[in-house]
Amino acid sequence: MELCRRFLIPACSSEEESKEDDKQEQQVDEDESILEQRNAFWQEWINKCFPNEEWNTTTFTTNGVNYDAFKSDNPQVWQAMVDTYSDTASANSYLPGVVNSGNTYPIEAHASSGMKLYKIVPEGKDISGPSPYYVTKMQLEWIKLHPAELEQKLGLPLSSVSGEYWIYSITSLVDDNLFFQSTIASTDQYANATPNVVYKTPGGAIQSLLINNGDPMKWKKSDQPDEKYIPDTLPEIQE
């Protein structure tokens, strides 16, 4: 049997290489297995909370800082954030939600030319939209060191969870490129039809808010993911 096996192995392959191939195959099987488990895990949560995936009938709240208090306590940072919107009406409508996504007041940060920030999106999605939520390289590394907490620390709504994530980068095109940072607030999400089932996250990661990420003079978004990432464990959910 051993002889037959040896004949079947291509002449250029040693036994060590064969073992390496087996290892790789095993790794692929394990990756597929964890991906299947993660997909099943999230599908169960989605089915429980939103049987028909009708997201427009859900209520998602971020338990962050009070917008009026921030505006009153930090008028200069508030004004700098307003100035990054194309018009005041849009700032008035959307900035409260962005500020309330953090449980600390946003602070100013500056990117130098060439600096990259990262966005973690569900498999198959991209970063062409206006979403301002990015993380620094350091935060990304921390998240990858704690894969079970990815969704929880980032405060992801159930419409943004996935078995696999794609990581995109955005690059600053200028020096002194203003953005903002805050700590992600806890979140609650429930279906209006079944308000007794609540999906919660504690938040806790530091988010970098790039409100003007659509400005092509200041930022360049990658159109291909830098990395396709499957956390190697099941998520740990705050019950």
Partner: protein, 112 residues
């Protein structure tokens, strides 16, 4: 004929809540049915401009976490905005209509 559109705009303004964006999208869809070619200063121009302004603001909807990855919603908002904007340009200014498509890099047919 414009009353249902006006009512939805008024409801959205009274709510002062971007989560009620469905009112503006529905008003915009009705507007396109009502004005398949163009609006005029006497009929529909003011409502068209109001809708364009609100649809522009809705382009930030994806900045809220729960709408981040709702690409169909973002695309529909963009398409409605461009199509209504074109209705607000008189057909006598067809070059401007063409420039609208040029600036966006897409034909109206592709937006439907």
């Amino acid at each position: 004929m414009l009353n249902p559109i006006r009512e939805k705009i008024a409801q959205y303004e009274a709510a002062d809540d971007v989560h009620q964006h469905g009112l503006i999208l529905e008003a915009a869809r009705q507007y396109l049915e009502l004005f398949p070619i163009e609006a005029t200063p006497e009929n529909g121009l003011e409502e068209g401009q109001t809708l364009v302004r609100y649809l522009q603001q809705l382009s930030y909807l994806g900045t809220l976490p729960q709408y981040e990855h709702e690409y169909a919603l973002h695309n529909e908002t963009l398409a409605l905005k461009v199509r209504i904007f074109k209705r607000c340009i008189p057909s006598t200014h067809s070059e401007l209509r063409g420039l609208t498509e040029l600036l966006l890099g897409m034909k109206e047919d592709a937006l439907k």
